[in-house]
Subunit: 256 residues, 4 copies
């Protein structure tokens, strides 16, 4: 299997992964999946074990959330992905989800990477906010070395002195990672933007720079979201983003 053609990454839409920051209820995730599946988004995302800066913040629905996520995804003909932060969460998620995510805060968690490598499950490996491109690619080797080539690299912004955005999206990391690695590179514009209106130009820039696809946070009602609502798109915004990225993709295709 050629990694860049991972089954899940059909070229029908530039938005490969979408869904809420956190799974909050069966209704919320089902409503989101039903909406996204109409656009051909292949993978539904939803946080269930949340990595939150403050121990007092909403920590996710845990195992119950995974079951809600998987049910909503599969019922709508989608695959699903959730973030896991340690081996116990991985073990629980494995029978239910189609893909796991290693978050930016866990990119350096080598025992977790090794465990995911052994499990063989497809994985989205986010770049750490303080990690160089080469450290990110070296982290992917921890997974690949165990015999798991189903790795998708995800650029999501790095820390810089600029505070106008939550993180600084490093668009150059896209062509560089593509050149230095065999794995596909997608981009999460939501975390870098920190606010929904900036998701549009960052997503367009990422596709134009050569990203294989986009992962974006979508919520039926961002104002009521329990986490990251400020940077989440509502359904109408998602539709607009989908239209924009399709146009950019078509333009790039026409050049080949």
């Amino acid at each position: 299997m050629e990694n860049r053609d991972l089954l899940l990454f059909s070229p029908k839409t530039p938005i490969h992964i979408a869904g809420p920051c956190s799974v909050e209820s069966a209704e919320q995730i089902e409503e989101t999946a039903a909406f996204l599946s109409k656009f051909g988004v292949p993978v539904l995302r939803g946080g269930t074990f949340k990595a939150r800066t403050f121990s007092s913040s909403f920590q996710g629905l845990g195992e119950e959330g995974i079951l809600m996520l998987a049910r909503a995804a599969h019922h709508n003909g989608m695959a699903c992905v959730t973030e896991v932060m340690n081996e116990d969460q991985l073990a629980f998620a494995l029978p239910h989800v189609d893909m796991v995510q290693v978050g930016a805060r866990s990119m350096f968690n080598y025992p977790l990477l090794t465990a995911i490598g052994k499990a063989g499950i497809p994985v989205i490996l986010k770049r750490g906010m303080g990690a160089t491109i080469d450290e990110w690619l070296a982290a992917s080797e921890y997974i690949a070395t165990e015999g798991n080539p189903n790795i998708i690299l995800c650029e999501r912004g790095i820390r810089s002195f600029e505070t106008a955005t939550r993180f600084t999206l490093d668009v150059a990391a896209i062509p560089i990672a593509r050149r230095r690695s065999v794995f596909p590179v997608i981009v999460d514009p939501s975390h870098a933007a920190g606010e929904s209106s900036l998701v549009f130009p960052l997503a367009r820039a990422a596709m134009a720079a050569g990203a294989s696809g986009i992962m974006v946070e979508v919520h039926p009602d961002p104002l009521l979201a329990l986490s990251d609502g400020k940077q989440s798109l509502d359904f109408q915004s998602f539709e607009l983003l989908h239209r924009e990225l399709t146009a950019v993709c078509n333009a790039l295709e026409s050049l080949k």
Copy 2:
């Protein structure tokens, strides 16, 4: 006059400014101008007073270079721009060039900004490599306050911990500067990239993020360039970039 419609910024090509890092000879700059004018590039760039890290590096042809630059540009129906680092250089350049550039290393040079404001000449204001977006926009106020509204903001990459590129292109600065300022925002992908192959994805990303145009380094023979040859495009590469950016622009236009 509406600033975003500066006469020089006709929408016929996404590459608004191009030319060598340094003017090296009458032949070199004439050959470049003749080539670029065929693509409708409105402004010819060429360094004549160079800001070099090392005092022993090539420092530019100075006043002689300005005359070569202006002759080549005007002879080919183009406007021209060169960087000035102090008021003396500004005074010399004023009668000859159509526009001046404030380089990243001079963005905080408030006396120079004030002098350019008083001179009323169109100006490209590059963002400092260590400057926040808000400091950059505050610098533009030093010029505007003197009654000169002919300002073009230019994002060119900031310093971050990532060393895979020369600078980290901050694509989010494009929509943010557009929102917070009335001046057009262009992007110089050459300095951020540090190498010519990365100029393509960065330029495409910049246009997709909403830049009004691109400034790019072009040299008839990059291998022989006296400065920044590694990141300069040759004529063939320029042609490819022009084709790519036109496609991206058309895609964005179709969405309006």
Copy 3:
């Protein structure tokens, strides 16, 4: 118990924690412990489960290393600390070591922090290389919230654009963390320095800025070290550092 007076942190020496980057053999760690105990260093450090950028690098002696470390420390009247990267490593280390370390790459590993909080074992919490001071202190809350107040904060340098050092030691983080937290703040100058000669000025600066103590890498023969030899002190250098820091401490004491 007042946290800043943790039993292990007797004020007899400014170097609270020392030892090799990695435990490499029983002889190596015993020789180091015998040497350090003569200076009153209360805690012996030694990596046994290593977080290495490349999966092909030396990964540590694991459980066997922990036994060597504990034997050498206790035999010489010292306490010992080793880094753990997940709950399995924590479970194995718990019966043997007196303290565990959360490395910079694990600072955001909230499940691990929670587990250490529940275990109640004293812990050194290093600041992540891309973490703000506030995120670091929020991470300490994950441990404290579980009823474990035996936390020592450790500044070890952050990522910046400067490449002359491995990391940029943020000395201001010392007084700020002391002001915003009840936990003692120590400094690891070795990782920031990246080379042994810079360990001296950075350690002196850290003590002068108000650090409660220093953690430093010491190896009987740095040239033969399996990891981080370049930044490790040999015994003679340790003696000099001890003398320097004692002088700085005495000067600060005299001001009280």
Copy 4:
């Protein structure tokens, strides 16, 4: 003449340069000079041409301020220094001041550096907030190359992602610049701190790391200062800082 023994840098006090951010009145600067001279501070500082982010901020008293500064300094047996941002300001300052300062925002202003080199006047060269150590030292070569060896390098903090301080003081730059350059290295803790209480630990850290001296902002009444009042010391605080740094210096001397 050995540069590190510049006449102005007598070792009687660790605080080599002090004074207000801006000269505000003859009374203010005279009162400050009278106070500082009692402690043997050799050089009085005071901004007269201010580099302010916003064009609407207080821009300094200009030439009038220079005369006030020089009168107060010389009347109290001190030398004086003020910042110049271009050649015109340099030309005016030259007959009146004993030393000029190149601010962080002007470090890359090569024509200014060259002019100062030609003028031969002693100069404090601050490190740019986005400049590497090597770029800073290369800037000093622009001055030295013209035959002016009277250069004092001044570290004052760099831009990083940490926002708890105004800038991140790079203490490692002190030993590294000392090693790679023949010029003395002093530190300005005021701008990095951004608030007066942090000036103490940063100044102590700088001396402990090997700085030749400290430059600090002092104002008779910081609450009334027209610029940078938040980070300025009042007279009582200066006295405490002087006591602290003397103790640190004595400790370091005792080690020689």
